[in-house]
Symmetry: C2
Subunit: 548 residues, 2 copies
């Protein structure tokens, strides 16, 4: 073990940087650990910022997890806030630190760059108006809270995770909210059909959603801010919050000659070392190997996932490598698990989406299923939607997505664990998950997704992602008659499942059939009956729940 | 694909049997499928029975999931209730069916035995009194509900999952409840320290708990039932519910000469075939290979897990093998995942417990950690306790247990998935679980358990499962002074963590030190400081939360 006294300098004191410092101290009591933070706060809970805007987290101090004094007392860290590193001199193993009092040089044995990322601010007309805000730190949050206190209407630019969290919180405190998103869906990381629940709950909660439209410019007026969209549409608002993504703060690294990726992220190896072995980097500023796309596509194996969980674990890896050397465990890469709650709905993803797989040119198959989040006979069962993607060759799971009111996080975690274990769709059918009526079902939605995938692979059923528009296809609605009448499927013949076997004569065996039901389960049974009676039959995935 | 018309006879129409029938029909539209059920009901939700007793599931019909008529209409099944199979003639491939109208022979191509298990009723004096009940089916439930309506005090014999569920429900409807358990803990499947939360909530909700005492006899009186315990103690009650386990209903199989295991379960292969290739068995009546104990111990690789989830998947496997032959997937065995909710607490297990591993003579290590179920700064964070067991040679996870108010099911599911994927403790540290403040933490309790295990394996920390009683050990309580004073640890010196580095001189470097804090996290940090300063230091796992 390499525990001689080392001088470790860390640039950035939030998730990744703070993790490096804490772990390094636990491993090396005598190391000199200096943490330099440009801003006034270290180790604050940036994932909690939106929740204080709406008062859901009442106490601002709850977000300020640590102070320099506490970190000194607890971990013997030398924490210097208001200290910006303006240059790195790799050859001298030193950094230049700028404070209000002036600049000084600080030498290091090992340097860790954890400066994070900053919100994107495209060079649009009017974007420098004081009413165009971003949300990244406590000061941004304070500014947003101050502003919204005296106004009615806020426009959120970008319907990603943070944008939607803030939108919800603003509704909670009585604001009118418009969300503008360039893509034709909210949560662009997810596949479009998996954002249905989120979009519905936003509309139901009075949020105005403008999809498929981008920002052309801001036109600041005395009493309002006019947001001009690419379509020509104008949104008259009082405040705009930009949440269209982040860019890595990698200028220091670039100036130091460290290798960067195509979008400016610092490239690191499995131990978080940059192209200079004495300089590590962790958190939102880096991109790291994605084991899923590496295995599936061979190329494009790097990804940047600006989230707290990976930052923490990268920090731990870097500290281990600094102190323990080759005894450290390699970082296995980031697969990209993310979740968001928006009003009464949650949605999330782990691994590769269908659209990402298509971009990568990877061969894959997918299914979408609806199922109750716990036993249907126990009160409070809520419908949950799960989609999985897999490699048709090996059966290996490549990604999963879920949405619904309850239990979304649990299924994402199961799928994330399955991805880490390289499990196949067959393995999913056999997962033995915790079942008692308040918690799950004898057949969990993840098992059911595995069953559905297995049926596709075995050729037991053909599936359709939507209602076919080809008129040669006979659409058979197998729901009970009353249900079919109440919310009809256009151009469908209603033959309830319980009558199907006796009414096969009503269908033309020479024309393809597409079956549809409420959630895609009975339609699968119907497709089985039809195909075994000589029909070319396919089941519409997700039923009318998804298709109507 | 072997889809010629087959005659499939299924004995038993609840979880396992019903799954065989439904899957077989979907695969083989033209098969003749006959389901024989001794009782009046098929496919009822037996896991829901306790919840109707307390009215949490209001509608009894919610538990009667299917009827013979519905199964006929939907799946073209020939369901015969009130039909008991009294003999199997394997040579003739036929069974003898007894009904109220008489007996008849029924031939089969494939027979599936899914008769389930029945509650244990040991031959004790007084056990046949009408006030000694069991709970296994809808009729038992109706009887229990009828009885308890007019009485005040019920004694539950056996503190397993069903016993505790019923205890809670009876409290909800205003009954006084005593629970008697032979072991020194509730939930004997779990390790003792993992039932702390459940026992505390039971006591807080007014349940009388008698642990470490068994039933000697029942003494029925006119107005009361006296339950006599092995200790000599007597419990004066009005009704006793026996829930001390089940025995497989394998008489038919035994009489047919099928191979049974040591405790009377039917032995099956990976496709649910018994020792007669034309006879399958699924559900509570069987024992199947346990992949964990098989790998870890080599021997004792069979286990019986009488739960609905495995029964369903075994049924699916049997149907696949009957219809598809060798194209069917093998059943990968049952690892034994189970959970129970008792009042505001949940507890559960997946894989092998510490006590089971000890019985098997397997070398293992374990850690126990406490952590918040979601971000501590987000309102409503509840403490969750996770214990993991692993193979110190390979690092492979062998089992996990959890308890707490929230999020127990999720962590068990993650651990169950990790077990299926043969993940190691290092893999647990790198699980990328869904994190947003309402759902989790940047470091999930499962990650933290992995970190703790890794620290043990790397020799970074020695741990103790309880407060040492050896007087030569210096116990150092590193909590803040006020906290230590409010709930002191006997014989401990209080040195708050923030003062530890400056007060090392107060400790004798020649005597071992055990550190303790609230949950075991700060005590780990303290042990690191001490050991790096030459002390023989160990951290007490779980802190005072577990130890006091």
């Amino acid at each position: 073990m390499n525990q001689e006294k080392q001088k470790i300098v860390i640039v950035g004191g939030v998730a990744g940087g703070a993790s490096v410092a804490a772990r390094a101290r636990r491993l090396a009591e005598d190391a000199e650990i200096i943490m330099l933070e440009r801003g006034p706060d270290v180790s604050f809970a940036n994932c909690g910022l939106p929740y204080h805007v709406g008062g859901e987290i009442e106490d601002r101090d709850a977000l300020a997890v640590q102070t320099p004094a506490k970190l000194k007392a607890l971990l013997n860290l030398d924490v210097r806030t208001g200290s910006e590193v303006v240059n790195v001199q790799p050859a001298e193993k030193s950094v230049t630190v700028r404070t209000l009092e002036g600049e000084y040089e600080l030498s290091y044995d090992k340097l860790v760059l954890a400066p994070g990322a900053s919100p994107l601010r495209p060079p649009l007309a009017g974007i420098d108006d004081a009413r165009v805000l971003t949300l990244r730190n406590l000061q941004d949050m304070d500014r947003l809270i101050d502003h919204v206190a005296q106004l009615d209407h806020v426009t959120i630019i970008g319907a990603g995770f943070i944008g939607l969290e803030v939108a919800e919180q603003l509704v909670h405190i009585g604001k009118k909210v418009t969300v503008v998103e360039l893509q034709e869906q909210v949560l662009p990381l997810l596949d479009g059909e998996m954002t249905k629940g989120i979009e519905e709950t936003m509309l139901a909660n009075g949020v105005e959603l403008i999809l498929g439209d981008g920002i052309a410019s801001f036109d600041p007026q005395a009493n309002e801010l006019v947001v001009k969209l690419n379509s020509g549409k104008e949104v008259r608002t009082e405040l705009a919050l930009l949440s269209i993504g982040v860019r890595p703060e990698s200028e220091l690294a670039a100036n130091a000659g460290l290798e960067l990726g195509p979008r400016g992220h610092i490239r690191v190896n499995d131990y978080m070392q940059t192209s200079d072995a004495n300089i590590y980097a962790v958190g939102d500023v880096i991109e790291s190997a994605n084991p899923l796309s590496a295995d599936a596509a061979g190329s494009d194996a790097y990804n940047a996932v600006p989230l707290g969980g990976p930052a923490n674990r990268q920090g731990r890896t870097a500290a281990d490598h600094i102190v323990l050397g080759e005894k450290a465990q390699a970082y296995p890469g980031t697969i990209g698990t993310a979740i968001v709650r928006v009003f009464d709905q949650a949605a999330g993803i782990t691994g590769l989406s269908e659209k990402r797989l298509s971009q990568l040119g990877v061969d894959f198959k997918s299914v979408l299923v609806h199922a109750d989040h716990h036993a249907g006979y126990y009160p409070g069962a809520e419908r949950l939607t799960v989609k999985i993607m897999w490699d048709p060759e090996s059966g290996r799971l490549l990604g999963g997505e879920a949405y619904g009111k309850e239990g979304v996080d649990k299924r994402l975690d199961v799928l994330a664990t399955a991805l880490r274990g390289k499990l196949t769709i067959d393995d999913l059918t056999h997962l033995e998950l915790a079942y008692a009526p308040p918690f799950g079902s004898a057949k969990d939605p993840v098992n059911i997704a595995g069953f559905a995938a297995g049926n596709v692979m075995a050729g037991h059923v053909k599936t359709l992602a939507s209602i076919p528009t080809d008129e040669s296809v006979q659409i058979v609605d197998v729901r009970p008659a009353a249900m079919a009448a109440a919310r009809p499927v256009a151009n469908a013949i209603n033959i309830p499942m319980v009558e199907l076997r006796s009414r096969l004569g009503e269908l033309d065996v020479n024309r393809p059939v597409a079956t549809i039901c409420v959630i895609g389960k009975t339609s699968y049974m119907a497709a089985r009956v039809l195909s075994q009676n000589g029909f070319d039959a396919a089941s519409i995935m997700g039923g009318v729940t998804q298709a109507l």
